[in-house]
């Protein structure tokens, strides 16, 4: 075991899958010699050669087409889209083609593609570099969407994603890359692709979050604990599918829930969770479903991110409102 940053844990997971399966290929813009603009693939080209880890021309639609074609010829592609905002250039490849191909072939062919992309904000990147676009992907049948909130899950999930024969969108949080360290096993392990995790036990209210907001929810839980409010925190980890069983089990215990997302309120994940809860657990609830999200503006300019991204204070306030309902 070693203490690893979130980004190192992903590198370690990628190293593992490249080592285990000679059919895996990493490609994208700047992933080779430069090791990616965030250095996630650093050292991998040196270790596995230019045939396995290589730079592409600058074209996201091309990158996704390449991934699909490589799958059709027996490879296991791990393309990188340099920032989530650039997935739009590859939207037909991801949503229009890849996600539908298993179905379109009547299950005859497999598309074991893992698309890695950084997302989220709060790091003062240039315009269009911070984004929470998960809603476009979670509403796409045929595609799995996962996002780790800590280094341990990052390594386990990337390995599961690459080993899965379904296409997976693996979202890496910009802010967590270097702000978080954890004990991460050196050896291979996996984290299931479709399971949420209770990261803090509690009895008064359930806080459902994912990615960087899990940490905000944990801080909010600390603050609430000072007033003897016991919050249970759930990290969704998988956004498609959503592990509603874990969420429902918690609601049966706490009877109150607040759903947190970094994305704008109108951008779906929180709304999906809320409607699932309303459908199945409404009778178990003692208060309305609470939601914390960014406002419905375009992702803001860098200087204003601090006022825009939901933080622990916002979560704490909403949780108090729900608990005191």
């Amino acid at each position: 075991m070693a203490k690893m940053t979130y980004i190192k844990a992903i590198t370690s997971g990628l190293d593992q899958v490249l080592n285990d399966d000679s059919k895996t290929l990493i490609f994208g813009e700047d992933v080779g010699k430069n090791g990616g603009v965030f250095r996630t693939t650093v050292g991998l080209q040196d270790k596995y050669g230019e045939d396995r880890v290589f730079d592409t021309p600058l074209a996201e639609s091309g990158i996704l087409g390449l991934a699909i074609g490589l799958s059709l010829t027996g490879w296991r592609p791990i393309p990188e889209i340099q920032f989530m905002g650039f997935t739009f250039e590859a939207m037909d490849g991801i949503v229009g083609q890849l996600a539908r191909d298993h179905y379109r072939f009547g299950g005859q062919k497999k598309f074991p593609v893992t698309i890695r992309t950084p997302f989220g904000g709060g790091t003062h990147t240039a315009e269009m570099h911070s984004d929470n676009l998960e809603n476009y992907f979670v509403s796409t049948p045929g595609l799995r969407v996962v996002t780790p909130a800590n280094p341990y899950d990052a390594k386990g999930l990337i390995i599961s994603a690459v080993e899965s024969d379904d296409p997976v969108l693996f979202m890496e949080n910009l802010k967590l890359y270097r702000s978080m360290k954890d004990e991460v096993p050196d050896d291979k392990y996996t984290v299931p692709l479709d399971s949420a995790k209770v990261v803090r036990e509690g009895s008064d209210v359930t806080l459902v979050a994912y990615s960087a907001e899990v940490n905000e929810a944990l801080s909010a839980a600390d603050a609430l604990a000072k007033d003897n409010i016991s919050a249970e925190v759930i990290d969704l980890r998988s956004l498609s599918p959503i592990d509603t069983d874990t969420v429902f089990a918690s609601i049966d215990k706490t009877h109150k829930v607040v759903i947190v997302q970094e994305a704008q309120r109108m951008a779906g994940v929180g709304a999906i969770v809320a409607s699932d809860i309303a459908e199945e657990k409404i009778m178990s609830l003692d208060a309305p479903i609470g939601r914390v999200a960014a406002p419905d503006s375009v992702y803001p300019f860098a200087q204003a991110e601090g006022d825009w991204i939901p933080n622990a204070d916002d979560i704490e306030a909403k949780a108090r409102e729900i608990v005191n309902y």
């Binding site: 080779g32 905002g85 315009e127 503006s297 375009v298 300019f301 860098a302």
Partner: protein, 371 residues
């Protein structure tokens, strides 16, 4: 006769010769500062030549000052421009105020020449919305999504044509990496199909972050890509401001006269890192590669021509640099005095008519912001 040796198509020969007409970069002043095309140079008055030099000194000083500001933490994302002065200043000066500019993130200097203030440029870099609000309506903000400005150019050029505007064109920039995007082809091809007035610049500075130009395509020149779309194109020595300007001016005239678009590849070099976010060029390129480009410096070249004509002195240049520095420092003060941004404003600008949910959120944020 079986197995005749003659092929009906000689692909090897086609491949070997397809770049032939594009591999002769237009040049007026060579790397040693020697005038190789005196006829073209003679078209320019002394004042114009001095003005070229001043603009390049302005851009180099802007670059140096922004690097200082970046180190002091006073800017956000900034794409360094040192090395590209001849390409940027030579081209932008060939256009008129009514021409529509669609820049990429490395084209702030052209935007400033086209009517955005330096302070706006800094505000854009700092991630402030005011950096996207310009006095000259004939431009968009620096495009981040590579290739998007090329397709949008097709629309601007068609709009100009449909409006019946005479003596007006669209002009647009991308880098060598940008030529790999589908949008790059679609933008040029649409413009060609409509024969709309646009000049497409490719500033080939050798690198797309860490990926060298030769890994973008096996085509020997980027200029030749235009031929498939029926668009005339040319390579120009992008370290020679007179050559760039002359080619850009002729392209503009050609497009404005209703002949359809032109593609210009300027051969230039990015001296430093890709951006102020701190990539390290030594990870992917060598000193040996860099040296000949530094030696081809556009300022050194022009300085030589002007000094020979007794139109320029180091003294004069030093004074200018100081003036420009002051201008940039003042612009930074102006940028730093801009009011803090409000989430309520972002909400107001997301729709022209705010939706009911957004109206509610505006009220919530206004309440928070007034505290």
């Amino acid at each position: 006769m079986a197995n005749g040796s003659k092929q009906i198509v000689d692909f090897a020969k086609i491949k070997a010769t397809m770049a032939d007409s594009y591999k002769h970069p237009v040049q007026v002043i060579d790397r040693e500062g020697k005038v190789v095309d005196p006829d073209t140079l003679a078209k320019y008055s002394d004042d114009q030549l001095v003005d070229f030099m001043k603009k390049m000194v302005w851009e180099r000083t802007l670059h140096e000052q922004t690097m200082n500001f970046s180190r002091q933490g006073r800017l956000g994302f900034y794409a360094p421009t040192a090395g590209e002065e001849a390409s940027e200043m030579g081209s932008v000066t060939a256009f008129k105020e009514q021409d529509f500019l669609l820049p990429a993130y490395r084209d702030l200097p052209q935007m400033i020449q086209h009517g955005a203030s330096v302070a706006k440029g800094f505000l854009w870099s700092k991630g402030h919305i005011q950096g996207n609000q310009y006095d000259n309506p004939n431009m968009i903000f620096p495009q981040i999504i590579i290739g998007a400005q090329y397709v949008e150019t097709a629309g601007v050029a068609l709009g100009i044509q449909k409006n019946g505007d005479k003596d007006r064109v669209a002009f647009v920039y991308t880098g060598d990496g940008g030529t790999s995007q589908g949008d790059w082809y679609e933008g040029i091809n649409f413009t060609s199909a409509y024969q709309a007035p646009a000049v497409f610049f490719v500033q080939n500075n050798g690198w797309a972050i860490s990926v060298p130009r030769r890994k973008q395509t096996a085509a020997e020149t980027l200029a030749q890509k235009a031929v498939a779309m029926g668009v005339p194109s040319v390579q120009v020595d992008g370290m020679d401001i007179v050559a760039v300007h002359e080619v850009a001016k002729e392209a503009r005239e050609f497009a404005a006269a209703g002949n359809g678009p032109v593609v210009i590849e300027t051969l230039t070099y990015r001296y430093g890192a890709h951006s102020s976010a701190g990539d390290d060029p030594s990870r992917y390129r060598t000193k040996e590669e860099e040296k000949p480009w530094f030696d081809a410096d556009p300022l050194i070249r022009m300085r030589k021509v002007l000094t020979d004509k007794k139109l320029w002195s180091q003294d004069q240049e030093d004074k200018l640099v100081e003036e420009y520095k002051d201008e940039f420092k003042n612009a930074m003060k102006e940028a730093e005095a801009a009011p803090a941004q409000k989430v309520s404003d972002f909400l107001k600008w997301t729709y022209d008519v705010p939706t009911p949910a957004v109206k509610k959120q505006i009220a919530e944020f206004e309440a928070k912001e007034s505290k």
